[in-house]
Each structure stands twice: as C-alpha cells, then as structure tokens.
C-alpha cells in the first residue's frame, strides 16, 4: 500500500520544487512507518499520525497556496466573450464578497432559483458575467498534470478566504432543506456491480481500507474534520483537488458511472456533508496523502 503512494513521485519531472520536497518528506515519513510496521505492528504510530506530523512540518506552506494565488488572479482578470472579471460575482454574501462565502455554501440563490455549491455558482458567474459557455467549463473541470483547471483554481482561491471561519450552512429555505434530505438519501443509495453506497465505506467508525483510515461521515466530529480539510493538495498526485473532484473520485471507487460536473446530485450530496460539518472552523485548502 505504501509503495502505491510512493511510486508516482518518481515520474514527477514537471512538478514544482516545493511539491517534490513535500513528497520526499511524506515518503520518508511513510517509509519510516512501513519499516516500523514490519518490526512492531502494535503500539505503532499510524499513517494518519505521520501525515499529521507532516502537515505540521510544512504548515508554513501548502503547495495549494500557488493554486489560491492563481485563482485570485483569475477572479480579477477580465476574460471571456463579455470581457468581464468575476469581481462582482455573488457567492451568496453579496456581489464580490469572497470572505466567508464558502463557509455558507451550498445555499439557495434567488436568481437561479437553485441550491448551488461553490463550483456550480462559479459556473453561473462565468457563464452569465463572462459569457464563457458552460460546455467549455465542464470540459476541463479538474486539474491535471499538464493543465490547471480555471474553475478548480478559482474554487481554491474562494475556499482559502473562509479559513478560520465557522461552517454555517443554512437549511432554512425549503429548497435547502430538500437538497439536504436528498443528499442524505444519495449517501445511502446502493447500486452498481459492487452494491456500494457512500455509507459502505463512510458509515462506520474506526475502519480502514488497507491502511487508509476512513471517516464515518454520519458522525458529526468525523464529518466536520473531513469536510473542512477539502479542497486539498494531494501529495500522491502533486495536484490541488476540489470538492467536486473528491466526490467524483469517490463515485469512481464506488464503481458508479460518473456524476455530471456540478450537477444536482453532487450539490445535494455536498449539502448533506456541509451541513454535517456546521460549527467547525473551515481549515482548507488542506493537505492529503
């Protein structure tokens, strides 16, 4: 299992120096762990603890900082057929208010008459204010090694502006309440060749897949810790990953087909998870194995 984490680092010719250094530190941390597992399986430091130590070691600089900066530039940059910036985009707290906006998302928006998460809302602003076609945004939703995704970079910037702010997602509006209720049902929806639901892996406490600890997202404390740490820089992939990506990759491993980017199924599921995280201080962009 550890080998799988280590191997991608060998081919990362194009990554920034900081991510290489980070990777080397994490790999060393995990390798130390691996050898100690062989020597003494009991009373050992777990991978999670090693990763926590690693996080502390680089607490002054998460590689996602670069994505935040790139996202801020994109936010301010005049772009698209309508030659406009996103500086007047309303993320729920008024036109152009970015500070604290993510801590209250998803939420109901009057102009679209929909509950929207961060990415679907950014998409609304990009299409209406900048005139960028939705299909163009959807065609490149996530960062890849060769190409950064605008919407991921923008999202990373926006979430960073809620760091330290308590999650306060409302279910007061009937559509918000409905999104939450549907999200809860999606979480338990079993299907596909393996009969998996989200809850198959994330509905029991203190379990893991191989060495990977799993959060029980039906328990408030676990849900809070997990939710506030995304989006995150994924060390094993050398890329910053958005919350939409996190859900997308969960469904992949669930052996489901692909959820459409920023679709209602993803927004409602996000609503369920975000409300479960209410009261916790938002701590992202995070850092993951």
């Amino acid at each position: 299992m550890e080998i799988a984490i280590i191997s991608p680092s060998l081919s990362w010719g194009e990554q920034m120096n900081i991510s290489k250094v980070s990777t080397i530190i994490l790999v060393s941390a995990l390798m130390t762990n691996y050898s100690s597992h062989v020597i003494a399986a009991e009373g050992d430091v777990s991978d999670s603890e090693r990763i926590a130590q690693y996080r502390e070691m680089i607490s002054d600089g998460n590689p996602a900082d670069f994505d935040e900066m790139a996202g801020e530039e994109l936010w301010k940059k005049v772009a698209g057929p309508k030659q406009a910036s996103l500086e007047k985009c309303d993320l729920g707290k008024g036109a152009g208010v970015v500070k604290g906006a993510y801590a209250e998302l998803p939420r109901y928006f009057k102009d679209t008459d929909k509950v929207q998460d961060l990415e679907s809302r950014l998409m609304t602003c990009m299409t209406t204010m900048q005139g960028i076609p939705e299909a163009e945004i959807i065609s490149h939703p996530f960062n890849t090694e060769k190409n950064k995704s605008d919407i991921t970079e923008l999202a990373t910037y926006v979430v960073g502006q809620s760091k330290g702010i308590k999650m306060a997602v409302s279910i007061d509006h009937p559509k918000e309440k409905e999104a939450y209720e549907i999200g809860k049902r999606i979480f338990d929806y079993r299907a596909g060749p393996y009969d998996f639901a989200c809850s198959t892996c994330h509905g029991t406490s203190h379990v893991r897949i191989r060495m990977q600890d799993l959060a029980n997202l039906k328990v408030k404390k676990d849900a809070q810790a997990a939710y506030v740490s995304w989006p995150a820089y994924r060390v094993s992939q050398g890329l910053t990953r958005s919350f939409q990506w996190r859900l997308n990759d969960c469904f992949r491993q669930q052996r489901f087909p692909e959820p459409k980017f920023a679709s209602e199924v993803t927004v409602d599921l996000t609503m369920f998870l975000a409300v479960s995280a209410n009261g916790a201080e938002y701590a992202g962009p995070g850092l993951k194995r």
């Binding site: 299992m1 550890e2 597992h37 062989v38 399986a41 409905e178 209720e181 549907i182 049902r185 999606i186 338990d188 929806y189 079993r190 299907a191 596909g192 060749p193 393996y194 009969d195 998996f196 639901a197 809850s199 198959t200 892996c201 029991t204 203190h206 379990v207 893991r208 897949i209 191989r210 060495m211 990977q212 799993l214 469904f251 992949r252 491993q253 052996r255 489901f256 087909p257 692909e258 959820p259 459409k260 679709s263 209602e264 199924v265 993803t266 409602d268």
Partner: protein, 205 residues
Amino acid sequence: MMNAKYMLGVALTTVVMTAPVEAGTVDLDAKTIEIIKRDFQDKGIAKADRVNQDELQATCSKYVDKLPDKIKSQLEAGQMKSIKWPSDGKYIGDWKAGEILAQSGKGMTWSDKADEPAGGNCYNCHQLSSKEIAYGTIGPSLLHYGKTRGNGVDIQRYTYGRVYNAKAYSACANMPRFGHMGILTEAQIKDLVALLLDPESPVNK
C-alpha cells in the same frame, strides 16, 4: 366572528401544513432516484445504467440499518436460490492464485479496462495472511479461517456461497456479490475458497 375566522384560519393552515409534508416525504425518495438517474453519465466501462437498482439494492438503501427481520429473510432466501453452484461439485482451487486475486483491488471502475479481469479486493477489507500487514478492517479478520473451522465439504460449500453471494447470508452486508454480479468466475472463487481453507495457505499458518 373573529373566533370563527381564526378557527377557519387554523383549519386551513393545518391542511396546508400537513398535506405538503406527507406528499413531500413520498416525493423525496422518488425525487432522489429521478436526480440520480438524470445526473450520472457513461464513463469508460462504467455505464450510466449502473445506477439502476435491483430489488436488494433498493431495499437495503431504503431501510439502511433498520431492515425488518421478515424482509431480511425473504431477501436472503431469494439470493440463496440464485447461487450457481460449481457443476463439478468441487469448491477448492489453487490458494496461490487466490492470494494474488485477494491482493488485487482492481476492477470495474471507469478507469479500469474491459479486458482487465477484476481482483478479489479481499485485503481492502479483511485481514487474511499474517504476512500482509496492509489490510482493511471494514470486514472481519479471516486470519486462520480454515484452521478454526476445518475444511469439510459443508464449510467448503458455505465459503463458496459466501464469496459468490454474501447477501444470501446477510441481506444488506457491505461485501459485494462476486459471483452473482459477474465480478469473479467460478474458477476464481474456488481459488479464494482454497486461500481460506487450504491448510497450506498462509491464511492458516
């Protein structure tokens, strides 16, 4: 007069308040399915129709952890009937092939290829051989599975059935139905039975 109006108001409010709530509860389950069917798309080998549930999946999703005993037994009996037992009456294959299969977590995701066979995913959730320390804990430990249970024909058949269709024994178990869903072949399931029961297997050392 005021009172009558007030009473009428209360009566109307009650009707308005209760009617949508009742309809809403029914609607939410239906709406969830409607959204799920609309919002997933084909990707690689994972086609959109994978979100369509069979009876067991739908029932387990509906009740989550509150499945009534009667429905549980009915589901299990139905799944048991559908098990296709080996035509040659033999349950034990090669434990070495079983160990390789148990190690592999590949298969059936949209990033897997159609021509690549799926693995057994066993170590993802279970402890098996004492030599493998990177095992998951969603399922129970199977270390010394055969050592503690023996390897008579009854336990062989039970083990084969359990891997073929775990839901025949526990309706809403987390474990996939490896034979029933066509994830593993009869020969592969026999190899896993051998891994669990063969006295020479590392599981029983």
